[in-house]
């Protein structure tokens, strides 16, 4: 996305346009515009931006730096605090619960990201190759994406429960029961499957757009040269799809580290903290124990992780482009 941003505005060091081209000049009205006229455009620009600027300063910049500031305090819900230096960070390093939450988050991501990316690629490839009812299929596959994670959690909670759908069907076949959400090893893949079901539609569309951008002539030429479907996929489609795939991979990884809603609805972090992920831990510290300083520190760590993932993305992209 960042590649499309650079603007071509030329400005002087003091920020004024280097070549003033007001409407008067452009329409051939001669003579120097009065200062009121010259101030009109910057003043209007600033005024139009002002409401959003205030919102951003108060609700984006202040909390972003506030999180960093709070991580060096023992901020309590009463609003009282002392500076404690890096105590919160030291505590995080020693905190076994934080270690558990990091592990749960990494494991969850290890299930979620491959699930989602594989389903997205598979469905995008299928959508791109069928001829009939493409719009209908695309709509059906995209449907879960427009609903909420809470809704997904409520439906799938029932699907997974001991007296729920899957176990009811298993019982008919004299199988089971399988305690999807109560088993410490099954809970994370089960949760990851729910999020994948809810979220893959977005990545599918991104990849579908990537597939559409591949010229059919390439594929036709390869076919004429005797390349089979598998070879065409491996040698032409997937290499040309790399940028979209990469974008999807990064977006989904970042999303996996932020998982919260389904866990709140389906497991509450259990069983025995098997699904106690980073953001769930942050929420727990903040709004159950009201340890704001410590919870804010976990937020900073979350930001650091997301930043590292994005930087790795940039690094790899830059290397590929040169």
């Amino acid at each position: 996305m960042a590649e499309t941003l650079p603007d071509t505005v030329t400005q002087n060091a003091d920020g004024r346009p280097a070549t003033p081209r007001g409407p008067r000049q452009r329409l051939g009205v001669r003579g120097k515009a009065p200062w009121r006229e010259r101030l009109r455009e910057p003043a209007a620009g600033l005024l139009f931006v002002l409401p959003m600027l205030v919102l951003f300063v108060v609700f984006r910049f202040v909390p972003a730096f506030g999180a960093l500031g709070m991580s060096f305090t023992d901020y309590k819900i009463s609003g009282e605090f002392d500076f404690v230096g890096v105590d919160n960070y030291a505590r995080l390093m020693r905190d076994p619960v934080f270690a558990v939450s990091l592990k749960a988050t990494l494991l969850y991501s290890a299930f979620y990201v491959p699930f989602t990316v594989l389903i997205s690629i598979g469905t995008a490839l299928l959508l791109n190759s069928v001829i009939w009812a493409r719009g209908l299929f695309r709509g059906a596959l995209f449907l879960p994406y427009v609903t909420s994670f809470v809704l997904a959690g409520i439906i799938w909670r029932w699907v997974y429960e001991l007296d729920g759908l899957v176990n009811g069907l298993l019982a008919k076949a004299d199988l089971g029961p399988v305690d999807f959400l109560g088993d410490t090893t099954l809970v994370l893949p089960s949760l990851a499957a729910v999020s994948a079901w809810k979220g893959f539609g977005y990545s599918m569309l991104i990849l579908l757009a990537g597939l559409k951008a591949i010229p059919t002539s390439y594929l036709e030429a390869a076919r004429v040269d005797g390349a089979g479907p598998w070879q065409r996929l491996r040698r032409i489609v997937l290499p040309l799809l790399r940028p979209s795939l990469f974008f999807v991979l990064v977006i989904e990884t970042i999303g996996a580290f932020q998982v919260f809603d389904t866990i709140y609805v389906m497991t509450g972090g259990g069983p025995v903290r098997a699904s106690y992920t980073l953001v769930f831990g942050l929420f727990d510290q903040g709004f159950r124990f009201f340890d704001f300083g410590y919870a804010a520190t976990m937020g900073v760590v979350l930001f650091a992780i997301v930043l590292v993932v994005s930087l790795i993305q940039r690094f790899i992209l830059d290397r590929e482009n040169t």
Partner: protein, 280 residues
């Protein structure tokens, strides 16, 4: 796809193509099944056998009625509507104003400002949750509508989308109005807004869905039952205290606006994700 390629594809309507279509159909049905099951359970009469044991022999709207007669649910629905609709209106207004200024006005610090807006995309909301909460409670905004809505208006995706769209509008339109002596506000109101209607519609749909489906922020900002949104209220419903059919009925009602929006504007949504990468 060109016409000859299309024709070639049709000629190759072979067993392979047919099996791919069948596979896609199966995947699509599996994807939609959870919604269908939700509706089936939601419409099952009280006490009647239902999934997974058996399919109900008849369907009823009793559960839907029961859900609405429970005081909390109606209130949550209204709260979700207020949270979503007011946010849509205010974001469309502020983001189009800012987008217009970033696209067409020259003023000191413009590009720095635009970049710093975009930079905030890097910070996940969850990472700022605690200072967010502290800030809003310092302003006495906890458990109020404005405290829930106003912080979510600072939306850089919205600003950036508007700016990209407005930047491509021809400058002559604005210059002509200026020469005619129109005020800046009038140019924005009479020229910018009407011309940006398609992108405003797309953005509006996204903002509606973001807010309607939002959970974490309403969860912490709504302290009393009266301020809960639908997602927050739904998350409090547990099978230990509420019959499953009523939980599913509540869930089914909560998803209806999404289904309507989706049904009517699917093409819009799909195209804007494909072309702009706008993310829910």
């Amino acid at each position: 796809m060109t016409a000859p390629a299309e024709a070639a594809l049709r000629r190759r309507f072979t067993l392979a193509n047919l099996s791919l279509t069948a596979l896609l159909a199966i995947v699509s049905v599996i994807t939609v099944t959870p919604f269908v099951l939700m509706f089936v359970v939601a419409l099952t009469p009280e006490g009647a056998p239902t999934l997974p044991a058996a399919l109900p022999d008849r369907l009823t709207f009793d559960n839907i009625e029961r859900v609405f007669s429970a005081a909390g649910f109606t209130r949550w629905t209204i709260n979700s509507l207020v949270y979503s609709v007011v946010s849509v209106v205010l974001i469309l207004l502020t983001a189009s104003m800012a987008g217009y200024a970033f696209a067409k006005k020259r003023f000191p610090g413009r590009d720095t400002l635009m970049w710093s807006f975009l930079a905030t995309l890097m910070v996940p909301f969850q990472a700022m949750l605690i200072p967010y909460f502290v800030l809003v409670s310092e302003m006495d905004g906890i458990d109020t509508f404005w405290g829930m809505i106003v912080p979510t208006l600072a939306n850089s995706q919205a600003v950036f989308l508007m700016r990209q769209f407005i930047r491509d509008l021809p400058a002559e339109l604005f210059d002509a109005a200026k020469v005619d002596g129109a005020s800046e506000w009038r140019i924005y109101w009479r020229i910018v807004l009407p011309l940006t209607r398609p992108i405003l519609a797309t953005l509006g749909v996204f903002v509606f869905l973001w807010h309607w489906n939002d959970f974490l922020w309403p969860l912490v900002v709504a302290q009393s039952d009266d301020m809960r949104t639908l997602t927050v209220g739904l998350a409090t419903l547990r099978t230990e205290t509420v019959p499953l059919a009523q939980i599913m009925a509540s869930a089914a009602i909560s998803v209806l606006p999404c289904l309507v929006v989706f049904g009517v504007l699917q093409r819009y949504l799909v195209n804007s994700i494909a072309t702009t990468g706008l993310r829910g």
